[in-house]
């Protein structure tokens, strides 16, 4: 039960970070903390029965990979949106307006 409470606290913390931070990278990190909280709750619930239920484990494994891909897409967008930096560093060919 300890980990269920921990998951709830982590969820609230992540939610606060998501709303209160102003930098996009911090918002992204908060979103990742938020997903970790949800995974933690799922696995805690799976641990309640005697043969540990492997289905939530598989779902969390799937979720981890999906989280990485969404983070990567968000980061790629973030780099292209960031002010400053040369165009080539942001992945735009030179002379392309």
């Amino acid at each position: 039960m300890f980990y269920a409470i921990l998951a709830c606290a982590l969820f609230v913390l992540g939610l606060h970070g998501l709303f209160a931070s102003t930098h996009m990278l911090r918002k992204l990190l908060s979103l990742n903390v938020l997903t970790s909280a949800v995974f933690l709750l799922l696995v805690t619930v799976a641990d309640l029965t005697d043969p540990v239920d492997p289905v939530p484990h598989a779902i969390v494994l799937t979720g981890l990979v999906v989280t990485v891909s969404t983070t990567a897409v968000a980061l790629a967008l973030l780099i292209r949106l960031s002010p400053g930096g040369s165009d080539t560093a942001r992945g735009r060919p030179e002379g392309d307006q």
Binding site: A4, S36, T49, V52, D53, T62, I79
Partner: protein, 312 residues
């Protein structure tokens, strides 16, 4: 020794909350990112405590390793080092909202979690494990009982890479200049270990914690390390090139198996028990290869060039 385990749990929980707070509110983005990477490692320890070694391996490789590399490289490319989002408590009135909000949300979530029914699929999975072709229940769920989820997951990863590549060519230079010659040398020396670890994880997946995702993530991290060490992959971004085929290999293999099984047995993804073990092995190998290359493709942050330029 019960109190020892409880103390350990408590310490892990406190460390987790502290690191999460640091990741979101530490002064300086670099500290935030490093805190988040350590957060992933503590999370991996917690998965071990919760009897989920498969997720622990994946979290250590994907959550801390691959995400950490992504975040750090993004941080190097975000030119505005100024951290506008540092001060959150300019208005003390915000606390008046946040404290009751946090208390109520935590309470409602806790009550809901308390009343969640315990899932009862563990017994069913254990009963049918003999027909699934593998001995590890998580692999059985991933690649036999719930293959459809895995198919969609690899699809999401592929769509992510397509989205990133469609944003334009990869930023140049691909990697920051290395101030020290130690990392390139170490990277080259460590790469065989990465290959060995990935192969071992893949082979283990059928009977013990491990499998395609962990192996793919470790392999992808090895590839990123090699690029950091100055190597340029033989794979290029040209159309009809081999990389594009390898990236979609996992999805194509899973779809082919699913459609073939639908034609043979009449049900999507219903393996005959005799064929299940070799089919799952083939799917795991193709999925691991695809995931490794997808992780690596994601790291480049854009479409790689048709021809790699020679190193200066």
């Amino acid at each position: 020794m019960d109190w020892l385990a409880h103390t350990f749990d408590g310490l892990l929980g406190l460390a987790l909350l502290w690191l999460a707070w640091q990741a979101m509110h530490a002064p300086g983005l670099f500290r935030s990112v490093v805190s988040y990477m350590v957060f992933g490692l503590v999370m991996a320890l917690i998965w071990v405590r919760l009897e989920a070694p498969d997720i622990a391996l994946a979290e250590a490789a994907i959550g801390a390793g691959a995400t950490g590399a992504l975040l750090l490289s993004a941080l190097a490319r975000l030119k505005d080092g100024s951290d506008a989002g540092r001060l959150h408590w300019r208005h003390p009135a915000e606390l008046v909202f946040w404290l009751p909000f946090a208390a109520v949300t935590a309470l409602v979530l806790g009550l809901t979690a308390w009343q969640l029914p315990a899932p009862g699929l563990g017994v069913d999975v254990a009963r049918t494990l003999g027909q699934s072709g593998v001995d590890n229940p998580v692999t059985a769920v991933l690649l036999n009982f719930r293959s459809f989820d895995t198919l969609l997951e690899i699809g999401v990863l592929l769509v992510g890479v397509v989205a990133i590549w469609s944003l334009g060519p990869a930023p140049s230079p691909i990697v920051p200049k290395m101030p020290s010659p130690a990392l390139p040398a170490l990277g080259r020396a460590l790469f065989p270990v990465f290959v060995l670890a990935a192969t071992y994880l893949l082979w283990r997946g059928s009977h013990a914690p491990g499998g395609a995702f962990q192996a793919g993530a470790v392999m992808g991290a090895g590839g990123i390390l090699m690029v950091l060490a100055g190597a340029r992959p033989w794979l290029t971004g040209e159309e009809q090139g081999p990389w594009r085929w390898l990236l979609s290999l996992g999805l194509v293999a899973m779809l082919a198996v699913a459609v073939a099984m639908a034609a043979l047995a009449g049900t999507f993804f219903a393996y005959p028990p005799a064929l299940a073990a070799p089919l799952i092995l083939a799917l795991e190998i193709s999925a691991a290869l695809s995931i490794a290359l997808l992780m690596f493709a994601v790291y480049l942050c854009g479409r790689p060039p048709d021809h790699w330029e020679a190193e200066d």
